[in-house]
């Protein structure tokens, strides 16, 4: 059985894929920053600084 030939993307397809990846990365970045802030706040509360 021969292996399937690797898909060669057209310029338009590559642009679409990159656009989708960039959109996901931006959302993931926002989520990570929000979580970092939340974990910082939880830590401050747990160690009793904010009562």
């Amino acid at each position: 059985m021969s292996e399937a030939e690797p898909r060669i993307y057209t310029a338009e397809e590559s642009r679409l894929i990159r656009k989708r990846q960039a959109s996901r990365s931006r959302v993931l970045g926002v989520i990570l920053v929000a979580l970092a802030i939340l974990f910082f706040a939880i830590t401050i509360v747990k160690i009793g600084v904010w009562g």
Binding site: E5, R7, Y9, E13, R24, L38, I42, V45, G51
Partner: protein, 301 residues
């Protein structure tokens, strides 16, 4: 297969992951959990309270994702669900499974570390109950699927309460009972006018298995204990007249609508106005009842 015939597989959009979490169901879960949290007799630090609600929301989202991962083939057969990311081919099935499991572990872990481990245990149990007991076992096998499976949706206010107090008392059990007993009339009224959709997917919903008359009888039968559970927080002196009077009024309307469903004998979905009315009202009912519960308890405090 030649390159020309290969379809372009785009990476799933973030909106598809969002859709996988069933945001509309999540909003009801967040709301009831928030009411349980606000109705608890002690206070919680706002940051920890926010974290608890976030974890409950993420846990609900994880359950939704695992449900859609398992039911992708069934969803493709129903008009109501055919446009979801998996049946519509917008997402890889493995990605949905990994997303669901990852979100489950994350939500339970953060709940345990930041809030308390009893709340985390209940959250883990509710995710497993929905994704495994309900989705994989009950739903495809028994018309009682949503009766027992309704327990999964009844956990959020209990988890919200436990996040604050760290223990389970009678009042959160009553909140659980309200949603548990509300689920059959709510879903069966939907199943009555969506009968053909469920039938096409081979899901043994009550109208398809026991018939419409038996379903209408059961809708009315469940409405009475539901009303009793809804009025109980007032009857045992845990709320004021504000909640008590509203609960009585809401339940009278609910019973009247359930009675109209019981009297209806239509087989055609177009003539099922009482069922559609009950379904729509049941959502409003739950929102108002829980909002009043939280407001009443905060006023008492």
């Amino acid at each position: 297969m030649t390159q020309a015939t290969q379809e372009l597989e785009l990476p799933a959009d973030w909106r598809d992951f969002w859709a996988l979490t069933k945001p509309r169901v999540m909003s009801l879960v967040v709301f009831t959990a928030l009411c349980g949290l606000l109705g608890a007799p002690t206070n919680i630090h706002p940051v920890i309270g926010f974290t608890a609600i976030l974890c409950i929301a993420l846990g609900a989202g994880a359950s939704g994702a695992l449900n859609q991962w398992y039911e992708a083939d069934l969803d493709a057969k129903m008009a109501r669900t055919a446009k979801r990311p998996l049946p519509d081919g917008r997402m890889n099935r493995d990605a949905a499974l990994q997303f669901g499991i990852g979100l489950s572990a994350f939500s339970v872990g953060i709940m345990g570390v930041a809030v308390n481990w009893l709340a985390a245990g209940l959250l883990a149990f509710s995710i497993v109950f929905y994704a495994v007991v309900y989705t994989m076992w009950l739903k495809p096998n028994t018309p009682q699927n949503i009766v027992i499976g309704g327990a999964a949706g009844a956990f959020p206010p209990v988890i919200g309460w436990v996040a604050v107090t760290g223990d389970i008392t009678l009042l959160p059990v009553l909140l659980f009972a309200i949603i548990f007993l509300w689920t059959p009339p709510h879903f069966w009224s939907l199943a009555l006018f969506m009968k053909s959709d469920y039938g096409a997917a081979g899901i043994p919903m009550m109208p398809n298995v026991a018939g419409q008359k038996a379903t209408r009888n059961q809708i009315l039968a469940y409405s009475f204990p539901m009303a009793a559970a809804a009025i109980a927080p007032f009857a045992i002196g845990q709320t004021s007249w504000l909640y008590g009077a509203t609960a009585i009024a809401l339940n009278l309307v609910f019973l009247a609508l359930a009675f109209a469903v019981w009297r209806n004998s239509a087989n055609d979905a177009a003539q099922m106005k009482p069922e559609k009315r009950l379904f729509a009202f049941s959502i409003f009912y739950l929102f108002l009842l829980f909002a009043l519960f939280a407001i009443d308890r905060m006023l008492i405090a």
